[in-house]
């Protein structure tokens, strides 16, 4: 099972939207996931327990060290766009397997 974290500034609003949207997208690919949503600060401290981070493109720089550790970081421009999410899951996760 893929362990995914959805992060935003305060871990309240947009991270939950991301969670709902990516949950739908992963289901359509038939990928089994567990998704946790939280703030960027919390995400950084918990990154070791997860495989993939989704966040707003503006917050990507917070996850430099996560990338160095080999975690997949997926920045989203439009957190509501199912097309963008599906395309990025395809290119960042499925194509790399």
């Amino acid at each position: 099972m893929l362990k995914v974290i959805a992060a935003c500034g305060s871990g309240m609003g947009s991270s939950q939207i991301i969670k709902m949207k990516i949950d739908k997208a992963f289901k359509s690919f038939g990928i089994d996931v567990s998704i946790h949503h939280c703030s960027v600060g919390e995400a950084k401290t918990q990154i070791n327990n997860y495989d993939v981070v989704f966040c707003s493109a503006a917050l990507e720089s917070n996850f430099k060290s996560a990338k160095e550790k080999g975690k997949t970081v997926i920045p989203l421009r439009n957190v509501l766009s199912e097309a963008e999410i599906k395309e990025k899951i395809q290119s960042h996760i499925i194509d790399k397997q």
Binding site: S10, G11, S14, S39, A58, P75
Partner: protein, 495 residues
């Protein structure tokens, strides 16, 4: 008959007037109505109960951590202090509501009535011209809390039922109209992203989008873009809310406690260990605010995620074709990261200057910067302002916004009798639009309430007049809408 009365009495005393159990009850009933399985409904209501009780632990902690500092300021300088932040605001509103012997459960009922009224407005969108449903759960909790106190403050003798209906309608209208107002400028910013904003600065966003263009210099070469700036790397640590909150709290409360001094703090706070260094006492005390805020947010997140998901489900089921309205952070992906940092920075600068102003001009209220308004309002404004007016607009507007957040925040604390409770909502709509709504209700009573309601309902009508053809299809057919608007501009120029 007696049996019914005593059953109702039991329900009223143990569930209806106890917010934690009431919220759990609502989630339980809601899930059953949505046709979820019994064990899912049980799990959801248990999480709601735990979430709310966590929130209570945190707000109790915030209040008791704050109390000695408030007392010290009162004794030494005869000053009151308030943190402008919706979490502090919500805690202050709860204490204020309970201080006059009313039940805070009303907050949850107001939220539900408000949400339903928003749905009704969208359901009749052919008449009301409202297209958006506000589903950002944590914001709805905070706003219901603050608005509940404003209404109780204006109409202290009104019965619970009347309060809930009146405020539900007023707040539902604000949610619907405010988020609807952000659709056009957000479509413009996101080039057809397909959503509106449901947050704490919706009227603010609209205003920023309108004025930002005026900051453009005639000389094109002078118009700097935010993208060209080289920002120092260390600033990025402030997009981490834990770091930003602890830093802000240490600066402000540290300064206050240093000025009050070890002797006075030791007298007031009996838990202080005088053998320890005062500096470390200050740091621990200041950072404790960030700790309680983290706990508070954890609690809110647990019970609100149940809420947001079911609201999303309900609005999708009942209202296909409505436009989703979401958290303001959804637009951050469309702005340059520099815009977000710069908005926060200039907003903070505006706030600090205004706070100095409050001290110099001997304001009876001292305002303390909270993280949420200074970051989320101003970062959002900077993103919108940069698109229309470049660097100049983004910096000037966020600076002004910071000044307004502090000065009008102080006015709100005074106007709504919150000076003993240490907090105010703080976001820009609440210190402008809701200050106006509150003052008109306080002075004009029901007439004021009627005027505010009518004025808000008139806004989508005016938006509709401007663009009848694509008003409802703007998220599906953004390109035709753009073509139409450009054609209009050409006609205006020729005329």
């Amino acid at each position: 008959m007696n049996a019914i009365v005593s059953v109702w009495g039991f329900f009223q005393n143990n569930i209806l007037t106890q917010p934690a159990f009431f919220i759990a009850f609502i989630v339980l009933v809601g899930y059953m109505l949505l046709g979820r399985k019994l064990y899912e409904a049980y799990a959801g209501s248990m999480k709601a109960l735990v979430g709310y009780l966590i929130l209570n632990v945190a707000s109790g902690g915030l209040v008791s951590n704050f109390r000695p500092i408030l007392a010290g300021l009162k004794e030494r300088f005869n000053l009151s202090a308030a943190v402008i932040d919706p979490y502090f605001g919500q805690t202050a509103a709860q204490s204020a509501v309970e201080s006059i012997g009313r039940s805070f459960s009303m907050m949850m009922m107001v939220l539900l009535v408000g949400f339903m009224f928003n749905l009704i407005l969208v359901l009749f969108r052919k008449i009301t011209k409202v297209r958006t449903v506000f589903i950002t759960g944590h914001i709805m909790v905070q706003q219901s809390a603050t608005a509940l106190w404003i209404l109780l403050f204006c109409f202290p003798h009104l019965q619970d039922t009347n309060i809930i209906i009146m405020l539900g309608i007023l707040l539902g209208t604000y949610w619907a109209v405010g988020s609807n107002l952000t659709v056009e400028c957000t479509q413009d910013l996101t080039e057809g992203g397909g959503f509106g904003i449901a947050h704490q600065q919706m009227f603010g966003i609209w205003a920023v989008d309108k004025i930002a263009g005026k900051f453009q210099s005639k000389d094109e070469t002078k118009n700097k873009k935010i993208e060209d700036l080289e920002m120092p790397g260390f600033l990025s640590i402030f997009s981490d809310n834990i770091v930003a909150t602890s830093t802000l709290m240490t600066i402000f409360f540290g300064a206050i406690m240093l000025i009050l001094g070890k002797d006075l703090m030791g007298q007031i706070d009996t838990s202080m260990d005088t053998s320890r260094s005062f500096i470390f006492y200050i740091i621990e005390k200041s950072v404790s605010f960030a700790v309680y805020l983290q706990i508070l947010q954890l609690g809110v997140r647990i019970f609100v995620s149940e809420l947001t998901e079911s609201f999303q489900g309900i609005s999708n089921k009942l209202l296909p074709g409505s436009i989703p309205a979401v958290d303001c952070a959804a637009v951050y992906g469309f702005g340059h990261p520099n815009a977000i940092t710069l908005g926060f920075l200039f907003g903070a600068l505006g706030q600090f200057v205004a706070i100095l102003g409050l001290i110099v001009f001997k304001s009876p209220i001292l305002i303390i910067t909270g993280f949420v308004p200074v970051f989320f309002d101003n970062a959002t404004f900077a993103v919108y302002a940069n698109r229309k007016g470049g660097l100049r607009a983004a910096t000037i507007i966020t600076f002004i916004s910071g000044v307004l957040q502090v000065t009008l925040g102080a006015v709100c604390v005074l106007a709504f009798g919150l000076s003993d409770f240490g907090g105010w909502h703080g976001n820009i709509d609440w210190s402008t639009i809701w200050l106006a709504i509150g003052l008109s209700m306080k002075h004009l009573g029901y007439v004021g309430f009627g005027i505010c309601l009518a004025a808000m309902l008139a806004i989508p009508q005016m938006q509709y007049m401007k663009n009848k053809k694509y008003y409802f299809s703007i998220t599906e057919d953004y390109d035709s809408y753009l073509a139409e608007m450009q054609a209009d501009e050409c006609v205006e120029e020729v005329a």
